[in-house]
């Protein structure tokens, strides 16, 4: 299924890399993604459209919150 993941993270390449590595661990495919800096450049706001099993999307949103790079993560089913 397609799903949207919205994530707030610290503004660092390490945080983005950790995000991608966790997507990889979940075996999810990337359709689109974009990151914008917010909060005077201190944070990033990211939106990813991913394809894969629903439970892996739910796992991803929860897993990211184990790591302090990520301040919020939510998953929304698209279809």
């Amino acid at each position: 299924m397609r799903m949207l993941i919205h994530v707030d993270l610290i503004n660092s390449p390490d945080a983005v890399a950790k995000m991608m590595l966790t997507v990889k661990q979940g075996g999810l495919s990337i359709e689109t993604m974009s990151f914008n800096s917010v909060d005077d450049g201190r944070k990033l706001s990211g939106t990813l459209t991913l394809i894969g099993p629903e439970e892996k999307g739910e796992w991803l949103a929860k897993k990211l919150l184990n790591f302090p790079y990520f301040h919020a993560a939510k998953m929304l089913k698209l279809e």
Binding site: D14, A17, K18, L21, K24, Q25, E55, E58, W59, K62, K63, L65, N66, F67, P68, Y69, H71
Partner: protein
């Protein structure tokens, strides 16, 4: 003062007492600062040892173990230990030196992007480029390693950052907000639902993972099991969460689980899984595990719910907290149950397995299971046991009866050969008054045997028992069972003299030919708090059973040839 001095002061204030590591060009200011502190640095001979020793230390102390390496190879040598810590949820903090900021990204001498290298397997890693942030970043890293589900974290510090002058105002720092997240709150409604499910269950079972040990929930698990009169089984990492001489504890489940423990799982109608990620090695294929039983899953890491097996009821939160509420509610709605026929039959099957295995001893050679069994009977209950990885680890899992919480230290998730001896050394640093015994294989031992140099130098005696079959026994077993006995690169010659090797490091070495000799040497070493390496020759042809073939359900277990329990299994089924 230099930021390195500020950092070390902060580390001491945070409770760091020991650092395992090796100095080098990039972390020399850090070591220079340690010289002025009360923190004890332990000079290991390879950084992998430092990481495993930090794991052993952390397991005993219940707080992060700290290891250090210089930039480049010093840092990359730590990686195996850090991934091991991630897989087994062990709080470890690594402090690495890095090349100076101006050289970063230029492929400078001994430059490696250690943060990038460890990112997939670490809770948090950061290169600190602002000297004023160094102590705060340490506090963040130290806190995150231990908070909620423990794991490794890494602080990477360019050499010039360590040398930079910072204000010498010292104040004890607290972790920043995102580094001190509270554990998930238990959900009372779900706990009540779970209690009802357990109260109605005919054959409930409790499966303990390593989370029970971290949470300190042993008493709650036992109270719950005694109220329900139900069996307790553990994962490899959960072994020693509850005393294995308790009448309701039936040992480790899984691929090389105790026959009665695996039976308890397959017979269960409700299984309460506490602090476990339900790995394939523990519960087999998730689809089979989910069939015919209700699963209640307690975990502090909510991403574990449904990752491997879908729970009927998920109970987020710290295990001790959740189980306390569960026990209290259960006592309100259900009376204490009498002992079930299932429990008695499991006990009979376990006894029959032990009896059968011990009957195989015809006195002609030493058997691994009997060695473990005798040591388990003879060593003091507070003994800490570590293992390498392989057949000996499985024999230890099957026959060592852990009697005190957290006294079993092994590499479960990553399966890191070479883990046993440095982990034992780290545990001995943490608890010098307790006997520490490394049950090791010759293959595993030879991967980190130089740790014996530390055992001698720091006078921290570890007892090492080597199950010496001159082979990579578990790989050989798989070649035997699944590759038509086509053995390839699994056998060693007998030219490496393990006794002389041990003596070369200053640790007494003996090769024993009988159980009496083995026990006499080990008991003497424990009594006198002396290090010893005991080379125990065992048969290369030994195969560890029970064994569930990979990818198969627990009922497909292969039992030791000649051991028949089908009648007993049938009677449990009835």
């Amino acid at each position: 003062m230099r930021s390195a001095d500020h950092l070390v002061r902060q580390m001491a204030a945070s409770g760091v007492e020991v650092i395992f590591g090796i100095p080098g060009g990039a972390n020399m200011p850090f070591y220079d600062a340690i010289l002025n502190s009360d923190i004890r640095s332990i000079l290991v001979r390879h950084e992998q040892e430092a990481a495993h020793a930090a794991e052993g230390y952390a397991k005993i102390k219940g707080r992060p173990g700290v290891c250090s390496g210089t930039s480049g190879p010093g840092a990359t040598n730590l990686i195996t230990g850090l991934v091991d810590a991630a897989m087994d949820s062990v709080p470890v903090v690594a402090i690495t030196g890095q090349v100076v900021r101006a050289f970063m990204g230029t492929d400078a001498f001994q430059e490696a992007d250690i943060v990038g290298l460890v990112l997939p397997h670490i809770k948090y890693a950061v290169t600190v480029k602002d000297a004023r942030r160094l102590s705060q970043e340490f506090v963040n890293v130290y806190s995150i390693a231990m908070s909620n589900r423990p794991g490794p974290a890494l602080l990477d510090i360019p050499r010039d950052v360590m040398q930079e002058e910072v204000d010498d105002d010292f104040a004890f720092l607290e972790p920043e907000p995102y580094f001190r997240r509270s554990p998930p709150e238990p959900d009372v409604g779900s706990i009540m639902e779970a209690a009802k499910l357990l109260a109605m269950a005919e054959k409930p079972v409790i499966l303990c993972g390593g989370g029970v040990i971290y949470s300190g929930a042993s008493a709650e698990v036992l109270e719950l099991a005694e109220h329900l009169a139900c069996p307790i089984v553990t994962t490899t990492m959960g072994k020693s969460a509850v005393p294995e001489n308790h009448p309701l504890v039936f040992g480790v489940v899984g691929m090389h689980g105790r026959v009665e423990a695996d039976l308890a799982v397959t017979e269960s109608d409700v299984i309460l899984c506490v602090g476990t990620r339900l790995s394939d090695r523990a519960v087999g294929p998730a689809k089979e595990f989910e069939k015919n039983r209700k699963i209640i899953h307690v975990d502090i890491d909510t991403s574990e719910f449904g990752k491997n097996a879908r729970p009927t009821i998920a109970l987020p939160g710290d295990a001790k907290h959740v189980l306390r509420e569960l026990v209290e509610y259960l006592k309100h709605i259900a009376a204490r149950k009498p002992e079930s026929p299932l429990v008695q039959r499991l006990r009979d099957i376990g006894a029959a397995y032990d009896e059968y295995m011990l009957s195989l001893d015809d006195g002609s050679r030493l058997h691994s299971w009997k060695v473990v069994s005798l040591l388990s009977q003879e060593l003091p209950p507070e003994t800490i046991v570590t293992t390498g990885v392989g057949q000996h680890q499985m024999w230890a899992q099957l026959f060592w009866k852990a009697k005190s919480p957290g006294s079993w230290i092994t590499s479960g998730g990553l399966g890191t050969m070479g883990f046993g001896l440095p982990a034992a050394f780290g545990a001995k640093v943490a608890a010098p008054e307790r006997p520490v015994v490394d049950l090791d294989g010759d293959g595993s031992f030879l991967m980190t045997c130089q740790t014996l140099a530390c055992v001698t130098d720091y006078e921290l005696p570890v007892v090492t028992i080597i199950f010496d079959n001159r082979a990579l026994g578990m790989v050989r077993q798989w070649q035997d069972m699944f590759y038509n006995k086509r053995y390839k690169d699994v056998e060693y010659t007998d030219r490496t003299d393990l006794v002389k090797l041990s003596e070369a490091f200053g640790v007494e070495g003996v090769r024993v030919e009988s159980y009496e000799e083995l026990l006499a040497n080990v008991k003497r070493a424990v009594r006198n708090n002396q290090a010893i390496t005991v080379d125990v020759p065992v048969d290369r042809g030994e195969l560890v059973f029970p064994m569930v073939p990979p990818g198969r359900w627990l009922t497909d277990v292969k039992l030791p040839p000649g051991f028949e329990v089908s009648e007993r299994i049938l009677s449990i089924g009835r």
